[in-house]
């Protein structure tokens, strides 16, 4: 991953130096553009309502205050429910955990079966699963709402877990399938000759080799499911709603004086988990995003 221009000799002279400065200036301006909304959000969440009214958009908080955060966390009203974001944050955790684990597990098994034990029609099966990753969710909203009703899962966390597992399968299968396809078949062949079976080879040979793609998939699924709004808004009722739906309700609650510092603190609370994961493991997140989109 070296720079394309590293093959060339570095440019010399005053003109080149000015160009170099201009280059850094442009890059830093873009960095400011991307960072500004986040910084504004953080700064505002630490301000008092008076300071927001009287102060400037870009100013730093004068009296650093955590009031808005604690208010957003356990006192803010979401609709008529004034327990803050905390219970909804918990809902999201309860949904995300099982949904990520189950969809990743099935994705790994599918990827393994589709690459190392190819059966007739494996490509068609994969193509049909893959299409799911492009599906506009609007097409399945109504049938899914009905089905969850039949299953007695309407409005519950269990229903959302099911939905996220099913529509996550396309991505998890894609990730593992594309990863396993590059692992030499000879490894599997040798193991079968030694008498190892399907699941033995999976657990003893494939899984130990899968750590990078496992991390990519878990981070991808975690981010997608945590950030989901449409499914949460469509299928979760009242107390079972995920944190994104609660945030939207909180921001759009019109009763009382608008507290922008609380809005921003609530937005930060909803965004922090995925942001932290991104900062800690951004490399894997990017790999998920670009998963092999570049022709070799």
């Amino acid at each position: 991953m070296s720079s394309l221009t590293s093959a060339l000799p570095p440019a010399q002279g005053t003109g080149a130096r000015i160009a170099r400065w201009g280059l850094y200036l442009i890059l830093l301006l873009f960095a400011a553009y991307y960072l500004l909304p986040l910084l504004l959000m953080i700064a505002t969440s630490f301000k008092s309502p008076e300071e927001i009214r009287t102060g400037s958009l870009l100013s730093l908080p004068r009296d650093f205050s955590l009031d808005a955060w604690s208010y957003a966390w356990n006192r803010a009203c979401i609709g008529a429910d004034c327990r803050g974001m905390a219970p909804y944050f918990l809902n999201s955790l309860v949904i995300v955990g099982p949904a990520v684990i189950i969809s990743t597990l099935f994705g790994a098994l599918n990827g393994y079966a589709l690459t190392k034990w190819r059966f007739r029609g494996a490509n068609i099966v994969f193509g049909m699963i893959l299409f799911g990753s492009f599906l506009p969710s609007q097409v399945i909203l109504l049938p899914m709402a009905q089905t969850l009703g039949f299953l007695g899962l309407a409005g519950s966390a269990g229903g959302l877990i099911l939905v996220h597992v099913v529509y996550g399968l396309a991505f998890t299968t894609l990730f593992f399938r594309n990863y396993y396809v590059s692992i030499p078949d000879d490894l599997v062949k040798a193991a079968t000759i030694d008498g190892a079976g399907f699941f033995q080879i999976f657990t003893k040979i494939m899984l130990p080799l899968s750590l990078p793609i496992l991390v990519v998939t878990i981070i991808w699924q975690f981010t997608q499911i945590w950030n989901d709004f449409l499914f949460g808004a469509s299928f979760a009722a009242g107390g079972a709603q995920p944190v994104t739906v609660a945030l939207n309700n909180l921001v759009n609650t019109t009763t009382g004086v608008k507290q922008y510092n609380v809005d921003m603190a609530a937005a930060m609370i909803a965004g922090l988990p995925t942001l932290v994961v991104y900062v800690l493991a951004g490399k894997y997140f990017i790999r998920g995003l670009t998963a092999g989109s570049v022709k070799g």
């Binding site: 049909m128 299409f131 078949d185 079976g197 995003l289």
Partner: protein, 319 residues
């Protein structure tokens, strides 16, 4: 998100032998079980996809040919819902907005993303940190970033007020509350969110270009901009295709952003098909019309991705 595997090219003949890792057919009962095990393992996922994706599409098609209002009805009445849909003024607003939003969103994201990728490719100190900054919005929910943008774009407290306080009392930037400009605020927030992703796609592609070609062109006296424009960018054409397909289908599916930023307003001036569908199905008791509009979205996405998937499948059989 995307489809190919970067490092893998099947060797000649390799792909012609599906199941090459499986034991020979004469391997007896155990081998037979092992071969079917593979299908059995995929079966639950495949069955779920068949039902929850393809079955549900058929279900929605069926509903769209009924007269379902508040509750789904299963009495077929022909294509009424479709002809009604195309007589609703609000649907045309949503379509027009999608064309404006999609066109600008895709175009500007591509320009910004490619520009950043090329600039970052010039042996930049701190490249890793800059890349992290450019891409972090992708990790956040549109509901989170929409909350921030809604506030920044709010004329009374955001940028407009800020510039007025600086001593320009006549300054106006109130797109978000104006009927005919609200849709452009969606573009602002969506480009901010997604252009870093385009940058990452293209940067990865740039790093895969053969350095010898660049060197040769440079020694021939070609300038750096000419090298990029004439040689490098054309050589990574497939990435343009991938980026376009991904951005286009994101545009069609855009829902969260509209809800968080404008709520489709003022009125329904910044509606997109996705918000239109939700409004009809769950708020206006027009389930059949909502289903018909969802199918229009599906048709658009299919029109974008099927040629893409087909060319990928035909190309390397690596999909």
């Amino acid at each position: 998100m995307t489809l190919q595997t970067p490092s893998y090219r099947p060797a000649a003949g390799e792909e012609a032998a599906p199941g090459s890792a499986a034991p020979p057919k004469s391997g007896g009962l155990r081998a037979l079980a092992q071969r079917h095990l593979s299908k059995l393992v995929v079966a639950p996922s495949f069955a779920a996809i068949l039902l929850f994706v393809y079955g549900f599409i058929v279900w929605t098609v069926y509903i769209s040919f009924t007269n379902s209002k508040m509750l789904p009805s299963y009495e077929l009445v022909g294509a009424d819902a479709f002809s009604k849909l195309w007589r609703i003024e609000r649907w045309y607003v949503a379509i027009e907005n999608l064309l404006i939003f999609g066109g600008l969103f895709i175009g500007i994201s591509l320009i910004v993303g490619i520009l950043l990728a090329v600039l970052l490719d010039q042996r930049i100190r701190g490249e890793g940190a800059l890349r992290t900054i450019y891409l972090y919005p992708m990790a956040l929910s549109f509901i989170v970033t929409g909350t921030a943008w809604k506030w920044i774009l709010n004329p009374g407290i955001g940028i407009q007020q800020f510039v007025r306080d600086l001593g320009f009392p006549g300054f106006t930037f109130d797109w978000i509350v104006q009927q005919d400009t609200a849709v452009y605020t969606l573009v602002i927030a969506a480009v901010w969110q997604s252009s870093g992703f385009v940058m990452a796609l293209f940067l990865a592609a740039l790093r895969g270009v053969d350095q010898e070609i660049i060197k040769a062109a440079y020694l021939d006296g070609a300038s750096l901009p000419r090298i990029y424009w004439g040689i490098v960018l054309p050589s990574i054409r497939p990435v343009f295709m991938s980026a376009f397909v991904i951005l286009a289908h994101l545009a069609v599916k855009s829902y969260d952003l509209v809800v968080a930023l404008t709520g489709g307003g003022p009125g329904y001036a910044s509606d997109l098909p996705a918000t239109f569908m939700y409004e009809m199905t769950f708020r206006r008791n027009q389930i059949a019309i909502g289903s018909a509009s969802a199918l229009m979205m599906l048709a658009t996405v299919v029109a974008i991705i099927v040629p893409y998937l087909y060319s990928e499948l035909k190309g390397g059989k690596r999909v």
